[in-house]
C-alpha cells in the first residue's frame, strides 16, 4: 500500500481520506484504497457508473459507514472518534431518495427537525430553518405536509432540511433525479450561491453536463477506486477513461471531438465556449 500524498496544506483540508478501504458485511469490497483531500470551499463532483462506490464513499464522510481500514478525517479528526450526530454539524448529507427522510406533518416542522437535534437555541433553529425554506423556495409550501408534494418539491424539502443544519460541507446524492430542466437549473443556481458563500459542495451524479458547468473538481470512480481526479476540462478530454467508467462526456465535448478537423479545440466543455470559439475564428477569417 502506498501512503497518500497531497498537495493541499493540512489547514486547508476540510476532509482528508487516507488509504480508505470499505467492505460490506456480506463481503462486497466497495472501496479499495481511496486517497482524497477536499479543500474548504471546493465544489467537487464524484462521478462514476452504478456500483462504482460513489455513495459508499460519501457515507464514510459523515460517519454512517466506518472505514474497514484506513481513515477519514473531518476537520482534522478521524470520523471514528465522533458520533454521526456530531459529524452532522459539519457534514450534511441529502439522501438520494427524499422519501427516506420525510415524516413530519408540515414542511416547516420537517426543516426544523435537523437543527433542533443539534441542540441550537429556539431562535437559532427558527432562523436557520427560515433561511433554508427561503433558500429552497419553499415559502409558499411551509404549512403543507411534505409527503403530499410533488417529487421535485419533496426533494427541495429534503435538501432544505439538511441545509437548515448549516453544515460546512454539503453532500448531495443524485440531487437532480426526477427534477425537470427548470428545477435542475434552479437547484444548480442555489448550490452555486451556497458555494460562493463558502460552503463546500460534494455532488454525486451521473449528469456530466452539470459537472462540466458547475464543478471545480471532478473525481471519477470505477470499481471502488478513484481513476481520475482533475478539473472538469482535464476530466472530459480523457474520453477513454470516462468510457471505461461507464460515463460519457457532455454532448458539446463529443461534438468538438468530432469536429476536430475544423480546428475546434478538444477541451471544450460548455456550449458557451464553443460559440465563443466559433465567433472568434469567424472574426479572424474576416
Amino acid at each position: 500500500m502506498i501512503p497518500c500524498t497531497s498537495a493541499i496544506p493540512s489547514q486547508d483540508k476540510v476532509i482528508s481520506i487516507k488509504n480508505l478501504k470499505f467492505t460490506y458485511e456480506g463481503g462486497v469490497r466497495a472501496l479499495l484504497d481511496i486517497c482524497l483531500d477536499i479543500k474548504y470551499g471546493d465544489y467537487l463532483a464524484i462521478v462514476g457508473g452504478n456500483g462504482s462506490g460513489k455513495t459508499t464513499l460519501a457515507k464514510t464522510l459523515n460517519g454512517l459507514l466506518r472505514p474497514s481500514s484506513g481513515a477519514v478525517f473531518v476537520k482534522g479528526r478521524p470520523t471514528t472518534e465522533r458520533r454521526v450526530s456530531e459529524l452532522a454539524r459539519v457534514v450534511g448529507y441529502a439522501f438520494q431518495n427524499p422519501d427516506h427522510q420525510l415524516f413530519c406533518s408540515s414542511v416547516e416542522e420537517e426543516v426544523r427537525f435537523g437543527p433542533s437535534n443539534l441542540g441550537y437555541s429556539e431562535e437559532d433553529v427558527r432562523q436557520k430553518a427560515e433561511q433554508a425554506i427561503v433558500g429552497m423556495n419553499l415559502s409558499h409550501l411551509r404549512g403543507k405536509p411534505p409527503l403530499s408534494l410533488r417529487l421535485g418539491e419533496r426533494r427541495r424539502v429534503s435538501m432544505a432540511s439538511v441545509m437548515a443544519m448549516d453544515p460546512e460541507v454539503l453532500i448531495l446524492d443524485e440531487p437532480t433525479t426526477g427534477l425537470d430542466a427548470e428545477e435542475v437549473s434552479e437547484l444548480m443556481r442555489r448550490l452555486r450561491r451556497l458555494n460562493e458563500e463558502g460552503k463546500t459542495i460534494i455532488l454525486i451524479t451521473h449528469d456530466m453536463r452539470l459537472v462540466a458547468e458547475h464543478a471545480k473538481r471532478v473525481v471519477v470512480m470505477a470499481q471502488g477506486r478513484i481513476v481520475l481526479d482533475s478539473d472538469p476540462r482535464g476530466a472530459f478530454t480523457d474520453i477513454e477513461v470516462l468510457r471505461r467508467s461507464s460515463l460519457e462526456p457532455p454532448a458539446v465535448t463529443l461534438l468538438s471531438h468530432r469536429l476536430s478537423k475544423f480546428e475546434i479545440p478538444q477541451d471544450i466543455i460548455s456550449p458557451e465556449e464553443l460559440v465563443l470559439h466559433l465567433l472568434r475564428s469567424e472574426g479572424e477569417s474576416k
Binding site: Y93, D99, H100, L147
Partner: protein, 262 residues
C-alpha cells in the same frame, strides 16, 4: 441480514430436486415419527438421520451453524430445565429443600430435548432446499387460492427490501442528527416515528406501484391461469414418498400392534 430470512441455498442435490409437496409431507411425517418414538436411543438415531439430511442439503457452513446454534441452545435449555420441574421417580441424585433432581427426570429431559431437536431441525431441511417460489407453488397445488399464494410470495420477496429501506431511512435520519437510542422512553418512541412514517409511506407507495404493474401485466384477467413451471411428481418422488411413509408406518405398527418399546 437478508440471508437469514431466506435460508434457501441454491444447489443441485436429490433433496433440491424433490417435488416441494413431497418435502412438505415428509417434514410433517418425520415430525410425527419424532412424537411416536419414546426411546432415547431410537430418537437419537432419528436426529442423526435428520442431521445427515441437513448435511446432504449442502447449505453453506455459516447457515448450517446459524440453524444448529439455535437448535442446540433450545436442547440445552430443555436438558437443564426439565429435571428442575419434573421431580418424580427414584433414585434421587441431589436435593436442596423442596428441589430434588431424580435420575429418571434427567433421562426424560434428554429424551424431550432430542425430540424437540428432531422437530426443529427437520424444518431446516425444507427451508435450506426449497425456494420460497417453490414453497408457494406447492401450497397453491395443495389448494391454496392463487391470489393468496401470490400475496404470500410477494410478502416474502419484499421483506428483505423493506428491511434495507428501513436501514437507509435510519441512516438518513442519523445524518440529520437524530440519535435513535438516546433519550427517555417518550423521546425514543418519537425517534422510531421518524423511521416508521417514511417506512410505511414507502411500503404503501411500493404496494401501489406493484399493483399497477401486476394489472398492466393482465393479472387476474382470466380465472383459469396457466403456469410457466408446473410441478410434477416424478418416479423418484414416489420412491421418496414411499420411504417416508414407511418410516412412519413401520414404527407405528411396531408400537401399536406389537406393543414394542420404541
Amino acid at each position: 441480514m437478508t440471508g437469514f430470512i431466506d435460508l434457501y441455498t441454491e444447489a443441485d442435490t436429490f433433496i433440491h430436486r424433490m417435488d416441494p409437496r413431497v418435502k412438505i409431507v415428509a417434514v410433517i411425517l418425520l415430525s410425527l415419527v419424532a412424537f411416536l418414538l419414546t426411546n432415547l436411543a431410537y430418537l437419537s438415531i432419528l436426529l442423526g438421520l435428520i442431521m445427515l439430511l441437513v448435511y446432504l442439503s449442502r447449505a453453506t457452513f455459516s447457515r448450517t451453524m446459524f440453524a444448529l446454534k439455535f437448535v442446540l441452545r433450545l436442547m440445552a435449555l430443555i436438558i437443564v430445565l426439565w429435571p428442575l420441574f419434573d421431580r418424580s421417580g427414584t433414585p434421587v441424585l441431589a436435593s436442596l429443600g423442596p428441589l430434588k433432581i431424580t435420575e429418571p427426570a434427567i433421562w426424560r429431559g434428554l429424551t424431550s430435548a432430542v425430540r424437540v431437536g428432531c422437530l426443529a431441525t427437520v424444518w431446516y431441511i425444507l427451508m435450506f432446499t426449497t425456494s420460497q417460489r417453490d414453497l408457494v407453488r406447492a401450497l397453491v397445488k395443495f389448494g391454496l387460492r392463487f391470489d393468496y399464494g401470490l400475496t404470500l410470495a410477494i410478502s416474502l420477496r419484499f421483506f428483505p427490501t423493506f428491511l434495507s429501506t428501513i436501514e437507509s431511512i435510519t441512516d438518513a435520519q442519523r445524518a440529520r442528527g437524530m440519535e435513535i437510542e438516546k433519550g427517555n422512553l417518550l423521546k425514543r418512541s418519537r425517534n422510531y416515528v421518524t423511521v416508521l412514517v417514511p417506512a410505511i409511506v414507502s411500503a404503501l407507495r411500493t404496494a401501489d406501484t406493484l399493483s399497477l404493474a401486476l394489472q398492466s401485466r393482465a393479472y387476474g384477467a382470466r380465472p383459469d391461469r396457466t403456469y410457466l413451471r408446473e410441478i410434477k411428481m416424478r418416479p423418484s418422488d414416489y420412491v421418496a414418498l414411499s420411504v417416508i411413509i414407511a418410516s412412519l408406518v413401520l414404527p407405528a405398527i411396531a408400537r401399536f400392534v406389537f406393543s414394542a418399546d420404541i
